[in-house]
């Protein structure tokens, strides 16, 4: 039964009806608790208590942002894999367009002067904002991915306001972006294994992706930068993720804003 044959068959209707019914029953029978919930689930509560909790040093991650703490500490391996998925997506994309012919350097005038000048301003502001989002990921809403996406907006702004050739003229090629991205990925993996490597050299037991000291492992990443909480590895991982995401998304933007002839889609 291929996708085509399922089309408009009674089977599809039945399947859809079953899904509707099942989900409705789950909600009506309070399978997910009372909606809207009044209490936290116990696991969420544990994390909310411990994300910044100097009184419980073995469970905390010294991050004011509980979501960042989950992403990079409690469930760090998920995020490593998420970055791997992003890496795979971009790698797949570059596989698809591996015979990109390169830019046929055209005129590329871009928009009017007003737009261009204001974009210059916006670019500056956006860059600062994105860096701020990324490096304060453990303190305020935000994080590496959010910052990276904001930075990638700059690429699209430049492409729209100026032209894709401008990016090329700035000396940024897809290859450079790739190289940056791979470096960022390697950095993430490296940060993940630092405690283990350190533990191996000193003979102390340590975990992959370890951040704060644990019951059976005293190794700790830096908790404070002067008086600001650093969240240990969360800060560094956010930074690496920022670069990785920014590079990945910029690459996507650049690829998709190429002309179809340059992408090898037309002969």
């Amino acid at each position: 039964m291929s996708i085509e044959k399922i089309r408009r068959s009674p089977l599809t209707a039945l399947a859809l009806a079953t899904i509707t019914l099942a989900l409705s029953i789950v909600i009506v029978s309070r399978g997910l608790g009372i909606l809207p919930p009044k209490d936290l689930r116990e696991l969420g509560r544990t994390i909310a208590v411990n994300c910044f909790n100097p009184w419980n040093r073995t469970l905390t991650s010294f991050s004011l942002n509980a979501v960042s703490a989950i992403i990079w500490d409690y469930r760090g391996i998920d995020t490593v894999f998420e970055t791997a998925v992003l890496f795979a997506g971009i790698a797949g994309l570059s596989t698809l367009f591996k015979n990109v012919k390169g830019l046929t350097l055209g005129i590329g005038g871009g928009s009017t002067l007003i737009v261009r000048k204001s974009v210059k301003l916006v670019v500056l502001l956006t860059t600062i904002a994105s860096i701020s989002i990324a490096i304060h990921g453990h303190l305020t809403p935000g994080g590496g991915f959010q910052g990276g996406s904001v930075l990638a907006v700059i690429t699209s702004l430049i492409v729209v306001a100026y032209s894709i050739e401008t990016i090329h003229r700035l000396g940024i090629s897809t290859k450079d972006i790739m190289r940056i991205r791979y470096t960022a990925l390697l950095t993430i993996i490296f940060i993940a294994v630092i405690p283990t490597l350190y533990g191996l050299t000193t003979g102390i037991h340590a975990y992959f992706l370890q951040n704060m000291p644990k019951d059976d492992s005293p190794i700790s990443m830096p908790t404070n930068f002067f008086n600001t909480p650093l969240g240990g590895s969360i800060f560094f991982l956010n930074l690496a993720e920022y670069i990785a995401v920014a590079a990945s998304l910029s690459l996507v933007v650049l690829l998709f804003s190429m002309r179809s002839k340059e992408l090898g889609l037309e002969d």
Binding site: G31, R41, A88, G92, T95, Y182
Partner: protein, 513 residues
């Protein structure tokens, strides 16, 4: 320790090969690094295997957080043996890529292949259903990318798109069920859920008790997850993507698919039905209904795909439909009540992977060297024949015999005569396709029909990989034939692995091993 090390090794391998691919022009270095990293993974897998056999289970807490707070890896005999299988397939696949792929393609192939294997291992080891979702997504997207690696082939693009869209849609249902389970149980750790699905009043550290009314949520989640995993293994009603993918993906990718990503569905169903919602869970009657329909589905799927296998006359078609058949049989074994049948099903997964790998490898090398009558081309013919005999599996010196015998014995002890008939009749139907192809390729001279692709040397690599595969397949088969008590040990280890109480106890009293 080893489970985490394996995954980290493959992630690192991916990043390193990607970096080398773009940073240097030297393809020799790239190949060397790829093979070295794959071999490291294999060695780590073997170590893990010994570790699990010694201690019964090998667990790891990421970041040092105890379950259910953090993500844990739980490697028992089943997952470590499948891990060994896919690590081995990685080595074969990487070497095959060296032999058969263009230099310009290889630098795209290695990183994605390593990522796929990292995802597969994470899927095998994880003790956390959200991480299961992430790993599934990684496997899906990398499989798509590996299928579309020759982007100038229009069939490849079409197959990838169909697989990609359907796969993503299906995996979204996995996410939906994870969300439902979290909403209902308030936890995503498999052992925690298993405990609470048996005893809803249980209170565990960090996650407390259940949050909602778990029965309806469990039923919905179980139904959806079953569907997802059926799709992942290409069991019959959801198989439409598999033949397309197998017809258009490069052979090195096929080796990976057949022995790592496509087995995940069967493995997932084993985990879900044995551990997550086990026999004593609150939804036991619904679980039994699902098991019954799964048995029916696997039987029908095995028969239909065996009939289709018999009609194929190209190697890819045969491998595709035969994989569906064998995985359906393995599914039937895995969901059986008898632990011998479960062990047989798991062994059958490995048998199918080894058989397909042998056929594909032998075929590639044979086609590359068919004009030259050298040692490796003759060896390739032998390997293809061994591969087919292994899949056919009715001769005791190949491992295929023992997996079928184990399943037959399990079904017979269970009183399931339909199962016995399914195993042997579908094997026989598949054999039509196998032997017709074997006769056509091996015994009849028809070189004029094919156009010569390349006759490049790589004599050393060819011979090594061929001898390695022959040694592994025959070694395993002869080993089992000489010592049938190994089978009893396997059955014993498997039955210990599918015991839910052991799983829960090991997870909550976790020490890093």
């Amino acid at each position: 320790m080893f489970s985490a090390a394996i995954v980290m090794n493959y992630l690192l391998a991916s990043a390193v090969t990607a970096f080398i691919g773009i940073a240097t022009r030297s393809r020799k270095l790239l190949d060397l690094v790829a093979i070295a990293m794959a071999t490291t993974g294999l060695i780590l897998s073997i170590s893990l295997m010994f570790n699990t056999i010694n201690y019964g289970v090998s667990t790891y807490m990421f970041g040092g957080f105890r379950p259910p707070l953090g993500v844990v890896y739980y490697a028992d005999f089943i997952s470590s043996s499948l891990s060994l299988l896919s690590s081995f397939a990685t080595v074969v696949s990487i070497i095959l890529a060296c032999i058969s792929m263009d230099q310009s393609i290889r630098r795209y192939f290695y990183p994605i292949a390593f990522l796929l294997i990292a995802g597969v291992h994470s899927f095998l080891f994880t003790g956390d259903i959200f991480h299961l979702y992430v790993a599934t997504e990684l496997v899906t997207i990398t499989s798509c990318a590996l299928t579309a690696i020759y982007s100038d082939k229009r069939n490849a693009i079409r197959a990838t798109l169909i697989y990609g869209i359907a796969g993503t849609a299906i995996t979204s249902f996995l996410l939906l069920s994870v969300i439902l389970v979290y909403g209902s149980y308030g936890t995503v750790n498999i052992a925690d859920i298993a405990l609470k699905s048996i005893d809803p009043k249980a209170v565990t550290p960090f996650s407390g008790g259940v949050f909602g009314e778990i029965v309806s949520a469990s039923i919905t989640a179980l139904a959806m997850i079953t569907w997802v995993f059926l799709f992942k293994s290409g069991i019959m009603p959801t198989h439409f993507w598999l033949p397309r993918v197998y017809r258009s993906a490069p052979i090195a990718s096929l080796v990976l698919f057949t022995s790592s990503s496509d087995i995940l569905g069967v493995y997932g169903i084993l985990r879900i039905y044995r551990i997550l919602f086990s026999e004593n869970s609150v939804i036991t009657s619904f679980r039994n209904t699902m098991l019954f329909s799964l048995t029916a589905i696997s039987t029908i799927s095995a028969f239909l795909s065996a009939l289709l296998t018999a009609r194929q006359d190209r190697v890819r078609g045969i491998v595709a439909y035969s994989t569906i058949t064998q995985l359906s049989l393995a599914l039937a074994g895995v969901i059986s009540r008898d632990s011998e049948a479960v062990a047989g099903g798991l062994l059958h997964i490995s048998v199918n992977a080894l058989g397909d790998t042998s056929i594909l490898t032998g075929y590639t090398i044979y086609m590359k060297n068919r004009d030259i009558d050298n040692f490796s081309s003759r060896l390739a013919k032998v390997l293809i024949m061994i591969g087919f005999l292994n899949l056919f599996g009715l001769i005791p010196i190949v491992p295929g015999f023992w997996s079928k015998a184990l399943m037959t014995k399990g079904f017979l002890d269970d009183g399931n005569i339909v199962g016995v008939a399914t195993v042997l009749i579908s094997t026989g139907l598949c054999a039509i396709g196998y032997f017709r192809f074997a006769i056509n390729i091996l015994l009849r001279e028809q070189t004029s029909k094919f156009k010569v692709v390349s006759t490049e040397g790589r004599y050393f690599l060819n011979t090594t990989i061929l001898l390695l595969l022959i040694a592994i397949v025959l070694g395993l088969g002869i080993g089992l034939t000489l010592n049938p008590q190994i089978l009893n040990i396997i059955v014993e280890l498997v039955s210990r692995s599918i015991d839910v109480d052991t799983y829960i106890a090991n997870t909550f009293n976790m020490v890093n091993r």
